[in-house]
Symmetry: C2
Subunit: 703 residues, 2 copies
């Protein structure tokens, strides 16, 4: 469970990750332990009344400053002055990027006995949220009554860019303007940024991801889904005072738990018209595309061991997304869930209609959304099939040409992602030394072009331009086989040479990007006016909710730092009860029940040492915390703010959490702190690391 | 998963168990490994083509003669010349009957080191099917063209009773006429009967039923649900040559498996009108009654340890039934399943309608069923709520008075259960030394009377007669506190004294039975004409199916011996895959995951000896065999006819198997042979028994 990482074209597929999402939406009246709360608006009353818990400002500041955002889509936390822990599947992109045909750190794992052996990540950026400042008044001040909606949006965007630049210039910190409650509030979030991050410990992928795609998004689970990294500045490990104290003896049944992390995106305030569009139009199309892409990658992986290694990470990502989409889709097909959403809509609508003033201001919003959504539904084919959804090479080609065009402009006029404040992050990706795989992309682009041809026809301008008289396979081969864009030196040369160098490059992928990206953007833009109408109507509904339900609300997730609370708790499952936790006994049961066959095989060291570990050690556990993709790697902490586990998944029943939270069976799945220590000590022979994590500094650990 | 045992009034609730069910029904065209096949009509072609398996007559005869019917509702098999194995939950009634306040064999288990220590069951009857003879012609010969439906049914019944009596007189064997294919075929089944059966080994209930009601009807499972008994004749262990050879090393993934046992009842040929009646009328009513009865028993159990012990077995039975009903009900609410049934009905109906002759003969049957079912639906309240569903004392009082009345009559005129051929079995129950619990029954009868009052009103004749001016609680107290019917000596005295003794008994439960049982029977009889109409229309449909689908069909289950085939196979579950088996590792995982708390606690010996057993030993496994309640205790055998496991449950997805079989996820759950031996040897210190089972005779075992 992880939000998608590659930002260029996967957005069109998943639109998960957006650090400054302008059109957010407003959440429902909170029930149970529901909610991904901002640090500036916590449910203090509920926590006090239900759990007798009061968080001091110090407790909150410490947890916030120990929380880490993985800028490519995940969460983590400091567990020592310099060590950060996250999920193996959050770190897996970096593990793959430092791997080669000969040394596969993703598959085989890694442990650096000394700091000198630690491996620097290729292009990882970590963010720590150091300040939050409300700037709603300033943003709203940029808008005057005479402006039409388009002018208002443009003025707001300009003001946001200005604020971000000013702040970056002044503080040197990453500065993002974040919108909450469907544009009702704006905050300036400043982040301390770390880019020298080194891998200290990662288990074998099969230990982290035991059970593979079948077990993904399920519980009971038996996964050691962790990776430990060390953060450096100026060539030395940092010494942050804000790290979580380790506690291996917590996470007992009914214990109060907090999760501090970065949920990517939720749509909990969707109207029925939006829900129905998702169910009847969008999900079927996206599931079709995912299926075809997975087939292309699996075909490539079947060609040989090296092809398998290259495709593995992509297959994991798409299978993961596919399973998430299927789970969400099934939730949307669930009559009870739909009835609950309908009930919520009816309630709000009845309250708005009952008040003439509210009705006049906001009463038309539902119909406006339904109408605009109907128009978007008609555009599903061009929007979905005029696309290349899975190509790093095209992302690099397009990103590079955009970079060259944009950096020449004054900051305020640049496209998103190319403002001075963002440029360093963008360059980290554009000039990443990570390898690319043209053979794999030939297959995936072929699948895209075939789908475009089938769904749009040969006369569609995008299809014409992309195929250029060739078959999909020929066209894909021509652009992937001949391009040099995969070479970081080539990209640096072009970036330095600017438009002159670009004009002389004669690279087929750059030429392809020049031709097709504008056509893709044109198709994406078709829906924009209707999306705008929906955004404005949603803003009305956001305001209506404020009036009706008051201020004790949490905003939809938007990859900004959130705190959720809950308890360790089993749940009704498959006709019986899922336990609150699993143990190493359960891992070996599942391994042997399937005859140690993939994906239920375990690394040799587990079988060889099974009598050396305490099999009763808790391995994974579940809590009622409200999370979503992007929370992967978040610390689970107890009342004392101690690290007791690490979130790595939600159960299958949690997937519909995109749209609605149901505490009955929605569960967060975490690795237990005790299992991490037991494994590091007894399975991986790394007592020094275990000591460092547990705060028992030894000579070895200080090396 | 077990069919209900007490035959007097539970029938009205569940109508599971019926050894000579006249209105059976005809099964669907077989798909996949579907089917509970009679030994006289096996799917030999399918077995040969799909699995290359051909059963010799010797193989079949041996398996049939090693198969045992537990006459109170379950199955078992011979695993040595005198040892029979069944489920702990099939034997649990007998274990409770030999238990006392001081010695609780059900809870604590039992092992007889010597034959002299074996405990004789109170009232158990085992049946072995020794011959099958088709008698359709003779039955049909008793019916003439001039007879109306009522006369035909009566003539058939008389002929059946005559055949059974003749056969019993001639052979001394239990002789049952069994109807298949909705009355299209009649067979005379003769059984060798054993009534001296002694308990050799039973584990603690918590080992057999680990996970309790939550885990009941689910998988993965970790239950040692077995009991071993020894069969005696004339005071000596029998020496049957027909026993199954033990094999602890089979039941591997995809292995071909056979289950030979006694499925109680299926309704696979129900029309949509019947299905909808079940879903909309019958299941909601039955579930209401189950819930109220369970509350009454749990209230009693909460009074103290002895009360808990008394109520435990009844609570288990009702929870078991409730969970089965909920599972079936959920299956009926499943749109896909309903659509599949509708499709089947449409197919058959279209084929019948397309053929003028078929249409003329059978085309009206669906509408006839729908009309009669509609009338039955109107009677749901008197039929369901004029009832005492859960009273052994009332069953004994009513059974005894009926016995006294019936035995005076000529055999052919007696009511079912009181013919000479059946009398021995009936007397075994009537004069059973098993204890009764008036305090418990006071609570359960109160619940019955309260429900009757609520649903029928104070003016209903049954309510009036039963309450006799008192409140439900007072009325229940008066009849349960004052009765002596629980005393076997009292019952024997009355039986010997006949009507004279009965008239002088002055027993409140007998008086209650005299007053209310005729009123209950009157209510039950209300639906009889419509049931008759349904039975006759169903017979038409059975014949239509014969014409349309041919003879390669299996009949609905009716507690007669059946053979099903399948393979060991995992299945899609809860978003992932359930493994084909579990191991002892998994047991300890689940124990520790729940902190060894009830119902996930394990006997102390398991925890104390967990390092002494091979944790990798397979514990439970699943197969695609088609089974239903009553199959509990059936042996699972491999191609060689060897015992490789014992059926004890179906998974939650199998429950709708009452109405439809879906191989995707319908699974039989069995205890693995290896686990039984591992436990007997290493957990229960009974190597002599293990040797005897494995055919390694030792001196100890011969004692």
């Amino acid at each position: 469970m992880k939000i998608s990482r590659f930002r260029f074209y996967q957005q069109a597929l998943a639109s998960f990750c957006s650090a400054a999402l302008l059109v957010s939406s407003f959440a429902l009246p909170a029930r149970a332990d529901e909610g991904m709360w901002t640090y500036f608006n916590l449910p203090t009353k509920q926590l006090k009344e239900k759990y007798g818990f009061e968080a001091s400002q110090e407790w909150l500041d410490h947890l916030r400053l120990a929380s880490v955002r993985f800028n490519d889509g995940g969460s983590g936390s400091f567990i020592s002055p310099s060590l950060v822990i996250t999920n193996h599947h959050v770190a897996s992109g970096q593990l793959q990027k430092v791997s080669t045909e000969k040394k596969d750190y993703l598959k085989d794992g890694f442990y650096a006995k000394n700091q000198a052996d630690e491996i620097k990540c290729a292009d990882l950026e970590l963010n720590v949220l150091v300040s939050m400042e409300e700037i709603t008044a300033r943003i709203n001040g940029a808008i005057t009554a005479e402006m039409n909606p388009q002018q208002s949006a443009a003025a707001r965007r300009t003001e946001i860019n200005k604020i971000q630049k000013e702040s970056t210039d002044k503080t040197g910190l990453r500065s993002d303007v974040v919108s909450f409650y469907q544009g009702s509030e704006f905050w300036l979030y400043r982040y301390k940024k770390y880019t020298d991050v080194r891998i200290v410990f990662a288990p074998e992928k099969q230990a982290a991801f035991f059970g593979g795609d079948p077990d993904n998004f399920t519980f009971p689970r038996y996964d050691l889904d962790v990776t430990v990294m060390r953060v450096y500045e100026n060539g030395k490990p940092i010494a942050s005072p804000h790290y979580l104290k380790w506690n291996s003896n917590s996470a007992n049944d009914n214990d109060l738990t907090f999760v501090s992390g970065h949920p990517g995106s939720t749509q909990r305030t969707f109207t029925m018209a939006q829900i129905e569009y998702q169910r009847d139009v969008r999900y079927p199309a996206v599931l079709n595309i995912l299926k075809r892409q997975l087939k292309a990658m699996n075909d490539y992986a079947a060609l040989g061991a090296e092809q398998k290694r290259q495709a593995e990470e992509g297959i994991f990502g798409f299978e993961n997304t596919q399973k998430a989409y299927i789970g969400q889709y099934q939730g949307l097909l669930d009559k009870n869930i739909i009835a609950k959403k309908q009930q919520e809509e009816n309630d709000l609508r009845a309250k708005v209609d009952a008040n003439p003033e509210l009705k006049n201001l906001y009463g038309s919003a539902w119909d406006e959304i339904a109408k605009a959504q109907g128009e978007i539904a008609k555009l599903i084919k061009p929007v979905r099939y005029r696309n290349i959804v899975n190509s790093t090479l095209l992302g690099l080609a397009s990103g590079l040409t955009t970079y060259i065009k944009e950096v020449k402009k004054p900051d305020a006029e640049r496209a998103s992602g190319y403002h001075d404040a963002e440029l360093e992050s963008t360059k980290l990706q554009l000039f990443s030394p990570a390898p690319t795989y043209p053979g794999l992309e030939e297959k995936t682009i072929t699948a895209d072009l075939e789908m475009a041809l089938e769904n749009l026809g040969a006369d569609d301008p995008f299809v014409k331009a992309a195929l250029n008289g060739k078959s999909p396979a020929e066209a894909a081969k021509a652009i992937t086989a001949g391009t040099k864009i995969g070479d970081p030196a080539f990209r640096k040369m072009l970036a330095e040479g600017g438009e002159t160098a670009l004009a002389k490059a004669n690279d087929p992928m750059i030429a392809f990007a020049d031709k097709v990206v504008p056509l893709i953007e044109e198709a994406q833009a078709l829906a924009a006016p209707f999306s705008g109408q929906i955004a404005r109507a949603s803003e009305k509904l956001g305001k209506a909710r404020f009036v009706v339900y008051g201020r004790s609300q949490y905003p939809d997730a938007n990859f900004s730092l959130r705190l959720s609370y809950g308890t360790v708790k089993g749940y009704p499952m498959n006709g019986t009860i899922a336990p609150p936790r699993t143990t190493f006994y359960g891992l070996f049961d599942r391994v042997l029940s399937f005859g140690n066959k993939s994906p239920f095989d375990t690394p040799a060291r587990f079988l060889a040492r099974k009598d050396k570990i305490n099999l009763a050690t808790p391995l994974n556990f579940v809590t009622t915390n409200d999370i979503i993709g992007g929370n992967s790697g978040s610390p689970v902490v107890n009342r004392n703010g101690e690290f007791i586990g690490i979130v790595f998944d939600g159960n299958i029943e949690s997937l519909v959490g995109n749209f609605i939270f149901d505490e009955t069976s929605n569960r967060t799945v975490a690795v237990h702190a005790a299992a991490i220590i037991e494994a590091i000590r007894k399975l991986y022979d790394a007592p020094a690391l275990a000591d460092e994590i547990e705060g028992k500094m030894t000579k070895t650990a200080k090396k």
